[in-house]
Symmetry: C2
Subunit: 404 residues, 2 copies
DNA sequence: ATATTATCTTCTGCTAGAGAAAAAATCTGC
DNA sequence: GCAGATTTTTTCTCTAGCAGAAGATAATAT
């Protein structure tokens, strides 16, 4: 039973140059020999791929590892370290949230530079005002560097139609039916593709590839920043997008007939498990400032305050209910909690973990890990991933464009 | 801005022969010209692929369409119709449920033959008893035909570790940690790969490709046969497996703190939306027989019986709650209801549809269709899909094996 | 210094498919 | 009934991309 006649190139996965570049982007500096072994390619194929990639200024071939710099020298011909060129192309990564805009440049090494933050006041969130300003900021960032810009991606909350970056609706900004990618593309003089993605999905992608999700086959991320709960799910390196509508995890129903949610339903998770819900559960508190009071509740609970502990348990209990439904649906190998939910989890670790194990047969069968996120700019990194994707897949096609 | 130097083979997607065979399997008879246009391949590539496939007896090249048989003749050289060989290879598709076993042969044209059903009594469900019997039945089916058997797939409920067909647990059969695929493979004298898959996922896959899900980008299927609720989700032609644990949709929580479920949680969907739940909601009824009474409730409701209508609304309301959470999580383009849930939906169509639209912002944004399933042997067809997958991907590699 | 080892480079060969040109099979108009 | 017109198939040539073998290279080990 031996296959004959066909060389069986395995899973293929596209041209070698793309696979090599993707590997270096994902895993950082590697020796040439490691690249060859990792990809299962012939040494000659890796050789030509790396030759092309260096010619395109996408990767840099360094010195072989020596005594001082890391690994043991070993016998045989030393293998030079290859890595993504830190002065190579950049992507413009933008994060657009309800109260501020962040524009940054991200390299293939995922280093973030040229960060510009702008706090929005209510008068600026109108698409007709915000988009031209954003286009300026993007062009500005792209033109301020010598490095070649290969793409733009905006991470924002809302319902996004991914293929064409069309914003169906973004409640926090009050947007409806805005062709963001198209408008941004036509207003920016830098002729590169513009993509738009759901912030929660992109942040989840970043955590999956470079953060708390590393190594998992699938990962569910839940995050909350003060108000609302968002989610992202990645399986086999592919985010579940649902055409831009998936993982509205804040609107899992955890209390049928409960509090009305602006989304139209009653008893949504985000009415019961975000920071407002904790404040409500804790009852009146001395200091009115929002952030302070939330951290105060966590501090009080640690110090032994029964009322604070009770409020945390109540809120965490709703999180467990939501997690049970989500885990039984998606069966992630790992759950990553970010923002307020990470704080909540840290304050009630065993309660959440034991609760989920007790109520979810999938969690029991699947050996689920619950962890907190560990990336600082997950959404920006995720946006860069999306902007870089075409280049990583087909480096030659993307860069060998007529510059005239 | 024109890409030069690279032929841009597009998405590739593997060797042409596999793509052609897959297309014919999925879409049925097509003209040669249609195949070329559909796949975007050069005519010469399609020519050699079809040549190879006919040489392997996988496809049959028929007569060009003529006046009588279908389409208008048209000008130019007539294009012969090509189709999957109806006497070509078969897969053994097995459905294993709590109370019976079905063994059948399925061709690349999805025609099902040699169906053998066996009703299980309690004494036969032990793995040590059932698996050898199943191995016999499978070999028997494979040897009774002249056609070449290329694979076996068992569809069954439970937690399945897909890659190696290991049954983590199957509550209905009382199984735990059973290496089904491996045992079946070693007991059957026919040397072909054996796969095992979750029945609900495979049925959903069949509906997605050939049934009520055709044409949708993503699809959620929910089914119920008397007891329990199962689900499947397909996105971009790929089922969400979660390592065999995904879409335990029956264990979405719809009533926190509600009825205890054998899974360990309280308030699971399947405690509130299967046929037992409807019977409970309807209260005592004259006739004790199960099936009769359920259809009787539907009939009474149609006839105007208020109590029956109320019971249906109550049960359907819970279905809406569960659907809301599922739809907000997965954002399917279409929802397919099967079995009892299809009956329930037919009895309360507007109630379910309006309820979901009212409570799910994702449903409102995404234009979700709710439909009932329309395949009779969805699980068997899905099992055959899984068994055929390697052949469809690489026809040459799979069949050019040394028959010695 | 010489052997050993691991890696890299060059060269040849093969496969899959693109693309152009030629051949085939039907229809249309006269 | 015959000459184009039209569409499709076939044949042929050519290239990209990678595998595999053989030789070159640069370190360590003796």
């Amino acid at each position: 039973m031996v296959a004959i006649g066909v060389p069986d190139t395995g899973d293929d996965g596209g041209p070698a140059a793309g696979r090599v570049l993707t590997l270096l982007h994902r895993r950082g500096p590697l020796t040439r020999a490691a690249v060859t072994a990792e990809l299962g390619l012939a040494a000659s194929a890796v050789g030509t791929a790396l030759g092309d990639l260096t010619a395109l200024d996408l990767v840099r071939i360094g010195e072989p590892l020596r005594g001082s710099s890391g690994a043991p020298p070993g016998r045989g011909r030393p293998s030079p370290v290859v890595e993504v060129n830190p002065d190579g192309p950049v992507a413009v990564a933008v994060q657009l949230s309800a109260d501020r805009v962040t524009v940054s440049l991200v390299g293939l090494d995922r280093r973030i530079s040229h960060v510009r933050k702008h706090v929005l006041d209510g008068s600026e969130t109108d698409p007709a005002t915000l988009i031209p300003a954003l286009a300026d900021a993007v062009s500005d960032a792209a033109l301020r560097t010598e490095r070649r810009c290969v793409g733009v991606c905006v991470a924002m909350p809302g319902f996004i139609r991914e293929p064409d970056g069309f914003v169906r609706s973004a409640l926090h900004l009050g947007w409806n039916e805005v062709p963001l990618a198209q408008q941004l593309g036509s207003m920016s003089p830098i002729g590169v593709p513009v993509a738009v993605g759901r912030a929660a999905t992109l942040a989840a992608l970043a955590e999956f590839r470079y953060g708390a999700g590393r190594g998992a086959a699938s990962m569910l991320a839940l995050s909350s920043e003060r108000v609302g709960v968002g989610g992202g799910f990645i399986d086999a390196d592919i985010p579940l997008t649902g055409g831009g509508h998936a993982l509205e995890a804040g609107h899992i129903i955890v209390e049928p007939g409960g509090l009305p949610c602006p989304c139209g339903a009653r008893g949504c998770l985000e009415m019961y498990a975000d920071s407002r819900a904790l404040l409500r559960a804790a009852g009146p508190r001395p200091h009115p400032g929002h952030e302070d009071t939330v951290t105060e509740i966590f501090d009080d609970a640690t110090a032994g305050d029964r009322a604070a502990q009770e409020a945390i348990r109540l809120t965490a209990g709703h999180l467990v209910t939501g997690l049970t439904s989500l885990v039984n649906t998606l069966a992630p190998e790992r759950v990553v909690l970010m923002g307020f939910l990470a704080d909540l989890y840290r304050a009630a670790k065993d309660f959440v973990r034991d609760g989920l194990m007790a109520s979810s047969a999938v969690a029991r069968a699947g050996q689920i890990d619950i962890v907190t996120g560990d990336l600082r700019h997950a959404a920006l990194v995720g946006a860069a991933e999306k902007a870089f994707a075409p280049l990583l897949r087909q480096p030659r096609t993307i860069l060998r464009t007529d510059p005239s």
